[in-house]
Amino acid sequence: MTTTAPTEAAANTTPPPSEFLEVRHLVKEFPVTAGAVLQRRIGSVKAVSDVSITISRGETFGLVGESGCGKTTIGRVVVGLERPTSGEIIFEGQDIAKLRGREFRRRRRDLQLMFQDPYASLDPRMRVGSIIREPLTVQKIGNDKERDSRVSQLLQEVGLSPKAADLYPHEFSGGQRQRIGLARALALNPKLIVADEPVSALDVSIRSQVLNLMNNLQETHGLTYLVISHDLSVVKYLSDRIGVMYLGKLVELAPSNVIYDKPAHPYTLGLIHAIPEPDPKRERAKEIQPIFGELPSALNPPSGCRFRTRCPRAQEICAQEEPPLRAFGPNHLAACHFPLQPVLAGSAA
């Protein structure tokens, strides 16, 4: 599958095709309009501004951040639900942001999305069997009989009875619905599943069932996950590496145990501190340095470092210069002028 006419830029920048998924300098802007009829464009929100990440085959990459930080937008761009304003999404050596039509549809088989809300993401008027069969129908895979057996196989894999195929979504609990969503995402044998807040809508006791199921399926299917969540403990449990986002920027990127043990960015530390732990002793002994203030408007983000308005370590330079991502260890990057960890010598990216 060689592209017939590689563009000049692509030819120059294409690295050895070792990486499974590479997001390069991704920018996504949404227009902001005013007026009921004319919809004048009065500006744009940079939901994601210049984010680069790479994900290796078989790994779980976690994106964590608060509402409006752009994490969901990245997920939607990666599966092709949104087109990037600029930047590249290189999936197995191919820029999927540039694909169109039939080629694009084919590629999408490999990239599936698991949604946050198990109540809103399943059509209430379709039987579960049809919901799971739909991707196969759309992609014209197999005949009716093969599709039926695939549906019952998928239901068993996610821990439901094949009889569930004849029932409607309302007959299932939240956790079971999330299993149905996972079965639908698996139907096309994808290589990458983007799980956007996979357990946020679920109760604690059901949550761990779904998290364990996701881990098991990853092993048996050799899946790669991009897990998106506001909950650092969920992301940390699932992920090998974690990216922390703030207002459209990637502020820190590290292996998940490093993020927790040695955070370099003050925002990451603030996030860790903000999570209430189910342990009264530790919770009460915490030296809390809460992140003060509110999230600034994404329409008009602060100059320089975007976190400076809420940062306890901010100084003058933070308003003037945007901090670059610098290395703090193997696979550990953070963008801060006054980091909590020593910068690795000779690092200025």
Binding site: S173, D203, V204, S205, L232, K236, P276, P278, E283, I291
Partner: protein, 334 residues
């Protein structure tokens, strides 16, 4: 020992077309003055219905089928609505989960808070507005005077929750019912609001009923905790005891299934199999029995009562968890 709030054998049912749901089925609890009681459980366990039964703000079809609710010795069950209205917002105030939909979008903040003050206090409009800016200042709203003329849509979620708290505080309630006060907020804002509630409770010597599904929120803020499951209280204990030496298998399972930040990721999380029972036909034996790893034949014969070695630590279980067993040693089910 006169408790501020005393609930005894409360039963709150909801009439539905298909039958009656026993949302709260014999709950007894108390809150001392100035104390924070955490009420924790999963969705549908009746924790919110318990809170709303105190104020008798029940959904259509909901009614109190039995039991008693007393505030400072005054019985609320059976009180006429006119009398109840004097209690709501005055002795007892509520803050709800969703700050986005709990404020009136067509009224300024000042008028919303002043309205409440004037219902309960005989004051002029101006005095009521003064009180409004005073309580807004109390909850850490910047420039409270100017904010009086703002509308809810001009505020972020965190600030709206502050307004809700300000409104609840405006008549100096003795008891504040906080129903999932931070669930809709981002974690950094959640921490700010929890700190604020804790600080206000200390300063105003107010009792708080903190209703939440989040064991972490409970851990740092509550003096005592009641754990609810399927319409009943299954364990009641001082916070430290509950986390260190929980006796009910449900409490143990709940704590073990939360991924922690220092969790080992190569070990599967403990997960509770199955689902809670249907509360329109609750079983007559232990309600947690089908999901319990310690269940014996006895558990299907009778319903365990709340008992315990001390009056402070009570649990409803025939085979309570031993003190030495820690949740990580519990056998994973799948």
């Amino acid at each position: 020992m006169a408790a501020l709030l005393e609930i005894k054998e409360l039963r709150t049912y909801i009439r539905q077309r298909k039958g009656e749901v026993r949302a709260v089925d014999g709950v007894s609890l108390y809150i001392e003055e100035g104390e924070t009681l955490g009420l924790v459980g999963e969705s549908g366990c009746g924790k919110t219905m318990t809170g709303m039964s105190i104020m008798q703000l029940l959904p259509p079809g909901g009614y109190i089928a039995g039991g008693s609710v007393q505030i400072a010795g005054k019985e609320l069950v059976g009180l006429p609505d006119r009398e109840l209205r004097k209690v709501r917002g005055n002795d007892v105030a509520v803050i709800f989960q969703d700050p986005m939909t709990s404020l009136n979008p067509t009224m300024t903040l000042g008028n919303q808070i002043a309205e409440m003050v004037r219902i309960h206090r005989d004051v002029s409009k101006k005095e009521a507005l003064d009180r409004a800016s005073e309580v807004l200042g109390l909850v850490g709203m910047p420039n409270p005077r100017e904010r009086l003329k703002d509308y809810p849509h001009q505020l972020s979620g965190g600030l709206r929750q502050r307004v809700m708290i300000a409104m609840a505080l405006s008549c100096d309630p003795k008891l504040l019912i906080a129903d999932e006060p931070t669930t809709a907020l981002d974690v950094t804002i959640q921490l700010q609001i929890l700190e604020l509630l804790y600080d206000l409770k200390q300063r105003l010597r107010m009792a708080v009923l903190l209703i939440t599904h989040d064991m972490g929120v409970i851990a740092g803020r509550a003096d005592r905790v009641n754990v609810m499951y399927a319409g009943k209280i299954v364990e009641a204990a001082p916070t430290g005891d509950l986390f260190e030496s929980m006796r009910h298998p449900y409490t143990e399972a709940l704590l073990a299934s939360i991924p922690r930040l220092d969790q080992r990721t190569d070990v599967p999380l403990y997960s509770i199999p199955g689902l809670p029972p249907d509360l329109s036909h609750p079983p007559t034996w232990c309600r947690f029995q089908p999901r319990c790893q310690y269940a014996t034949a006895q558990c299907r014969e009778a319903e365990p009562e709340l008992t315990g070695d001390t009056p402070e630590h009570q649990y409803a279980c025939f085979n309570p968890v031993g003190r030495v067993r820690s949740p990580s040693q519990a056998a994973p089910v799948r």
